[in-house]
């Protein structure tokens, strides 16, 4: 017993400390690639068919969950083993996806029906279904896992859902065609990237939840203009970072003053965007140029551009902490 523990420790010591990784859904290439974020190289690639697009990373980084809207399934990826270990069939085209912090459930938006599905990961099947607004795209969870927010794109609204009861608590109208949705680390504010109105809506989550008699009124706290056809929002260093698909830029604004700070060129059709654990970098998948960009969140400059496979999207949470 003791011997085996010692030899295991020695084995671990022989392996260099792993760097954080990015899991990139390559929709046109039909794959998910793994980027080592210290060497900034693709170190693994696994085939995933059905046109993979959305991704949710488990908080402990052990599993990543990838939606294939054309194939109508979710692939469960063992991140360390670099392979798909399970496929969960969906009744509709899944796009946005979020993983609850305990790793027990997935919340998956079905694009056409439109429904939000609660998937029990132990059972590998849908255990609850909730009707939400038209063409739900992004799905986000509050840090405590208690509240789910969906961007109901074609209804120009977000749905705010109580995770425990899986019921909708509130609906808030935002800009035109919200796509990506992000909740801040304090669980205080929701940010939507509105594709057709070229802006970001900011919603106060607590006031939206406390208004029981007048849902959808009064909790939209601000609208921030950004570049053309915004897709998703990341938050870092008290700044908002927004991928502008047509603009080919990341728009940066101050979260307090809401003043625009900069637009950073990042290749063509930037889509998925997420902040590194230490908030020093924001990673962006540029769909047309087949690159991932790293942006320094202090200098607001491109720190790296990394070639990846065809059609990277990584819509959701795609960064894996390994330390």
């Amino acid at each position: 017993m003791r011997l085996s523990v010692v030899s295991a420790a020695l084995l671990l010591a022989a392996v260099p400390a792993a760097a954080d990784e990015a899991f990139i859904t390559e929709q046109a290439g039909g794959a998910v690639s793994v980027l080592d974020l210290s060497t900034r190289k693709v170190v693994a690639r696994m085939p995933v068919d059905g046109k993979p697009a959305g991704i949710g990373m488990a908080q402990d980084g052990r599993f990543a969950y990838v939606t294939s809207p054309e194939g109508k399934f979710v692939s469960v990826i063992d991140t360390a083993a670099r392979r798909v270990v399970r496929r969960i069939d969906m009744p509709d085209a899944p796009l946005g996806i979020a993983v609850d912090p305990n790793g027990a459930f997935l919340y998956v938006a079905g694009f056409y029906e439109p429904r939000l599905y609660k998937v029990d990961l132990a059972r590998g099947e849908i255990v609850a279904t909730l009707e939400i607004g038209a063409s739900p795209s992004g799905v986000a969870l509050s840090p405590d896992g208690a509240t789910i927010v969906t961007a109901d794109r074609d209804d120009n609204q977000i749905s705010i859902i109580d995770a425990a009861t899986f019921t909708r608590r509130s609906v808030v109208k935002v800009g035109r065609h919200p796509f990506g949705v992000t909740i801040d680390g304090a669980g205080r504010r929701v940010y939507t990237a509105n594709v057709e109105s070229d802006d970001v809506s900011i919603v106060d989550l607590r006031s939206a939840l406390s208004r029981e008699e007048a849902p959808g009124v009064g909790s939209l706290v601000a609208t921030v203009p950004v570049g053309q056809r915004p897709y998703a929002v990341a938050l870092a260093q008290n700044k908002g970072f927004v991928t502008d698909q047509y603009g080919g830029t990341v728009s940066v604004f101050d979260l307090e003053t809401l003043a625009p700070l900069k637009r950073i060129d990042v290749g063509e059709y930037p889509e998925g965007i997420e902040t590194s654990a230490d908030e020093t970098l924001v990673y962006v998948a540029s769909w047309f140029s087949n690159e991932v960009f790293a942006i320094d969140t202090l200098s607001l400059k491109v720190a790296a551009r990394i070639p990846v496979g065809d059609g990277p999207r990584s819509f959701g949470t795609f960064l894996r902490r390994t330390r």
């Binding site: 929709q27 046109a28 809207p69 796009l95 074609d154 047509y246 080919g248 063509e268 769909w287 047309f288």
Partner: protein, 182 residues
């Protein structure tokens, strides 16, 4: 239909009549992209002279007429293309860079019977190539014509890609001929 395909390499090619009007905003979940390129035996400036005006698409054999306003000013300029095969396409310019010889535009309105795509955007750019020649790249990003689940074959992804590829190839080949004949 077959005769038209044979005689006119243009917009509207290969489409079966379908009484389905997609709205401009709804679309399927999987965006498509493609790039067509051609090398032209002329310096980039000569090529840009022909394609550099957003208000003049007469270099494309599928276009019978271009009308519009706003010149080459991004977010202002609009044009309507009238196709040789009938039908119109309304487009607006969202990027224009004369120094880089590149512009980007999107389709605001088109019937899927004319071009089976939704949420189409495109960039055309002239790049310098070896020996004083040019390469023209025409890039498109778009969704299939059918915005809902389970598209019919003529409005699926394959149909969209085929139609856009045909438009780009026909345009680039005609452009090459026109510039090299000068």
């Amino acid at each position: 239909m077959a005769a038209r395909i044979g005689t006119c390499l243009c917009f509207g090619l290969g489409l079966v009549w379908l009484a389905l009007a997609g709205t401009a905003s709804a679309h399927g979940p999987v965006r498509q992209k493609l790039t067509e390129k051609i090398e032209i035996n002329a310096p980039p400036a000569k090529v840009w002279e022909v394609i550099g005006s957003f208000q003049d698409m007469s270099w494309h054999p599928g276009i019978a007429k271009t009308t519009g306003e706003g010149g080459n000013t991004p977010d202002v300029a609009k044009r309507q293309l009238t196709l040789a095969s009938g039908g119109t396409i309304d487009e607006s310019l969202y990027k224009y860079d004369a120094a880089e010889m590149s512009y980007s535009y999107r389709i605001d309105k088109v019937d899927v019977k004319v071009l089976p795509v939704t949420n189409y955007s495109s960039t055309i750019v002239v790049l310098p190539a070896d020996g004083g020649k040019s390469t023209v790249e025409w890039k498109g990003a778009f969704y299939r014509g059918y915005p809902n689940n389970d598209p019919p074959p003529d409005l699926n992804e394959e149909a969209a890609i085929k139609a856009v590829t045909t438009v780009y190839k026909a345009g680039l080949e005609a452009l090459k001929k026109k510039v090299e004949a000068k």
